[in-house]
Amino acid sequence: MPPAPVAADDDIDDARAAADGDRRAFQRLYRRHVDRIHGALYRLAGYDHARAEDLTQEAFVRAWQKLPGFRHESAFGTWLYRLAINVALMELRARRADPVGFVDEEQLPEHGETPFCAAEREELERAIGKLPPRARAVLVLHDVEGWRHEEIGNELDMAVGTSKAQLHRARQFLRKVLGETP
């Protein structure tokens, strides 16, 4: 489920101008949306700053190229968010990242305390970062971004059942890391 659009009216004008080649309008769109887009990509990239920044950059370049085809049937923010997620998932698919594998028990980080202060949140983020890329994508898209399994299955080219199974195992892993009994 894409997040609510930001400054939709301004976005419409700027998106139209940017589609006509106005780089300043595109820069305004970038400024308004970069943190939200980068946040989503940062989570999908397993909290890896460098990769998230590369993906963010690629997403905005791709958006510039595709803007002339944007029909304003959805909010610009929604369109951009979806495009950015696709950029991240395309990279995931291109890397043929570990489709079914899971983290070895021995690789689990030490148990933490009961969440949820800032430190524990950081611990949770670290644990998400340790998930295999596809399992992490399923968990982030479903539990954090609010996507449905059908959407995830479509985007990641996997069956709905596989998506559910990946989510279940990812949650188990995280609960274990966080010191909970599943």
């Binding site: 997040p3 780089r23 595109f26 820069q27 970038y30 400024r31 970069v34 943190d35 939200r36 980068h38 946040g39 989503a40 940062y42 989570r43 700053h49 998230a52 920044e53 963010t56 950059q57 905005f60 370049v61 510039w64 190229q65 009961t114 969440p115 949820f116 949140r121 949770l124 983020e125 998400i128 539990d143 954090v144 971004e145 609010g146 949650r171 609960r175 909970e180």
Partner: protein, 149 residues
Amino acid sequence: MNEFEWRQQMRSLRQPVAPRRDLWGAIDAALEARDDDAAAAPAARHASRQPWLLAAALAGAFLLAGSIGLRLHRDAGTVTGNAPALTNAPAPWNPSDPRLSGAAIELDAARLELQQAIQQSPHSPALQRLLARTERQQTQLRQLVHEAG
């Protein structure tokens, strides 16, 4: 932690995160580079396609003119060898000869096309070279015809 608390906790991760550095400079540079590529591509395609088309047309004309010229040259040698008394005779141009007029027309058309192309792309060395070569071929053809009598 129950399911509801879990979901709440996970959703709370959904926060905007600013990149550690401003990415706009890199994005702007990438857009600039792509725009330049996009602008250069059609011009490059046009420039590269035009000489190839011209070269293909000219190659045919050169081959035709060359073969005719060679034959005329041989004929001239034969005539010269057999009848030296005729070497100083005037060499009238015979426009009715279809081989000669065909080659001359091809070369003339090629020259005109090249001149038009040069008007559009005045700084193209390839076009200049092709034009010079075509004009040389025309001169050679005239000389050969003249020699063949």
